[in-house]
């Protein structure tokens, strides 16, 4: 249970030293068009081992498209996508998995009616015996799943219960435990805290920190800047398919992050309009000048 102890709140905020100069995954000016709709454009991103890279953005900002490219569900149409410094183009999620890139999707990629242990090993089942009689090694799978889940602090009475009967936080943790067990070097988490309560979110954030302590590169997609700031080492804000902000932890404060996330400059101009409506308190809203964080690309927010 070492990882859980180091994953307490104090350790979460401590930066880990870089494990290597070369990023595990790198995007250089990557983009994706669906027909004549440009969902993503000019996005650059680096994922280092033992670091959490947070990708923030409102709905429709292109977060999902970004992770679909990295996880192999879609291919990028512009720019470069490098894994270990080599350009790649995945045609199936299997290829991404083979490179050690595991994704925990928003819908968790679990099959609700299947038992927990079958879900844990789905797609990478353990087998025994020679070919015509090759069969699932059920004992070993159940034992391993139980051990891995307990190591993550998830105690389940019955691994035979359908995973659909677990709570959202438990399911999330099973999905993370699965990715970590299968030798993920890069863990992509798609809005893991979106549907969770405060306490459950805390549990999930603890596992993100635990995964980082194990030396994994984590891409944490979220639209909650508070959650991001608790575990993040680097922050990228997407807006309308382009990169609005790319800053490391030392260069950005939670307040700035929140402002960028909330629409930044747009919100400042909205403030003037709102000021003319009676009953709307605009004192707390930021002025345009407050947004001092470095901006990665000169995004005009065109789509």
């Amino acid at each position: 249970m070492t990882s859980n102890e180091t994953g307490t709140h104090g350790a979460v905020l401590k930066d880990t030293p870089p494990a290597g100069d070369r990023p595990l995954v790198e995007l250089r000016g990557a983009g994706k068009s669906y027909g004549n709709i440009r969902a993503l454009h000019g996005v650059s991103l680096e994922v280092h081992p033992g670091k959490v890279t947070c990708v923030l953005g409102d709905n429709g900002a292109g977060k999902s498209t970004l992770i679909k490219i990295i996880s192999g569900l879609h291919q990028h149409t512009e720019g470069e996508f490098l894994v270990d410094g080599e350009p790649v183009r995945f045609s199936t999620p299997r290829e991404a998995l083979d490179k050690g890139i595991a994704t925990v999707y928003q819908d968790l990629a679990v099959v609700p009616l299947m038992p927990v242990w079958r879900n844990f090993f789905l797609g990478s089942e353990m087998t025994k015996g020679p070919w015509p009689l090759r069969r699932l090694d059920i004992e070993r799978m159940k034992k391993t799943a139980d051990e891995e889940l307990r190591a993550m602090g998830i105690v389940l009475d019955d691994l035979e219960q359908p995973i659909g009967t677990l709570s959202g936080g438990q399911r999330q943790c099973v999905a993370i435990a699965r990715a970590v067990y299968f030798g993920a070097r890069v863990l992509i988490l798609d809005e893991p805290t979106a549907a969770l309560g405060v306490k459950q979110s805390g549990v999930v954030l603890k596992y993100i920190a635990a995964a980082r302590e194990k030396g994994l590169g984590v891409i944490f997609i979220t639209h909650n800047p508070h959650h991001a700031y608790m575990v993040g080492d680097h922050f990228s804000v997407l807006r309308l398919g382009t990169m609005e902000l790319s800053a490391s932890r030392s260069d950005v404060s939670l307040e700035e992050l929140t402002n960028h996330m909330a629409g930044g400059a747009e919100l400042a101009s909205l403030k003037h309009e709102l000021a003319q409506v009676r009953g709307v308190d605009v004192e707390e809203l930021p002025e345009e000048g407050d947004l001092t964080a470095p901006v990665a690309t000169s995004s005009e927010g065109k789509s």
Partner: protein, 358 residues
Amino acid sequence: MSMTQQAAPAVDTPPAPGQKQSDGRTRQRPLALRLLARPEVGVFLGAVAVLVFFLFAAPPVRDGSSMANILYQSSTIGIMALPVALLMIGGEFDLSAGVAVITSALTASMLSYQLTMNVWVGVIVALLVSLAIGAFNGWMLVKTGLPSFLVTLGTFLILQGVNLAVTKLVTGNVATDDISDMDGFTQAQKLFASTFEVGGVNVKITVVWWLVFAALATWVLLRTKYGNWIFAVGGNKDSARAVGVPVTFTKISLFMLVGFGAWFVGMHQLFSFNTVQSGEGVGQELIYIAAAVIGGCLLTGGYGSAIGPVFGAFMFGMVQQGIVYAGWNPDWFKAFLGVMLLGAVLINLWVQRTATRR
């Protein structure tokens, strides 16, 4: 900090066995409830009920040879219900399964007769044709993303028309010629349509095949990777794909498995009746689907068993023959089936709700 540089997978020491803690939120449900949650238990009880009913209502059923006859009737439905059930667990269904049986039989019969070849040539070619039909269904489904209802409805109509038209074109008749005097016929008949004696009762070999296939399907479904994939593609196709399950392969191979079943039943019909009526098979596909649904398979996929459809098919065979033995008008058969189907679906629904409730 030495832990931080370590690569995955996790090697945390698990808590020592013995201090097994429970999360304290789930009570162990009573055994009866847990049993009821199994997909095949409801249909098993149903099959027992139907059997007991006819044992009382139709005294001839108590005879061993009648029971063998009932099992034979069940097996011809049951052999097809198995792959149809697997396909259903995999999230699809196949409306062309009924006529595909006849297509297979026609292919084997006409090919060997017209070219005067050994019947085994026809049998092998029929197998290839059946597998090809299955592969076509699966391929169309995967490529177009259309629902299997539409794709296989198309195949159903095509095959129905082709069966009739080609048979008329080749033989000038609606039935194929008798192939019982051709090379290899007796040999093939032994495999597909022979009878053997057990304790003074003549049992058709299809009953044995039915049970062998059922055992095999159960093993594959619950104990192999492929079985795991079937549940996964039926339960949530996108999730399955995302974790690396070969969804396309699984779906296409399931349709080909239905093709294999159609071939086997087609060969049985050919070698037990020597000729094939080209217009038959229409409506059978719904019987297979009904047997699978009565057997506890979820029409929407992801849930079911291979044993359930065995009992489902047995219920069908039992009712079909039981009505005759009871001396009732056999026209009641379909009405009886409809009631059974609705009853089974309602029971399944109720059982799933009560037994899987948290």
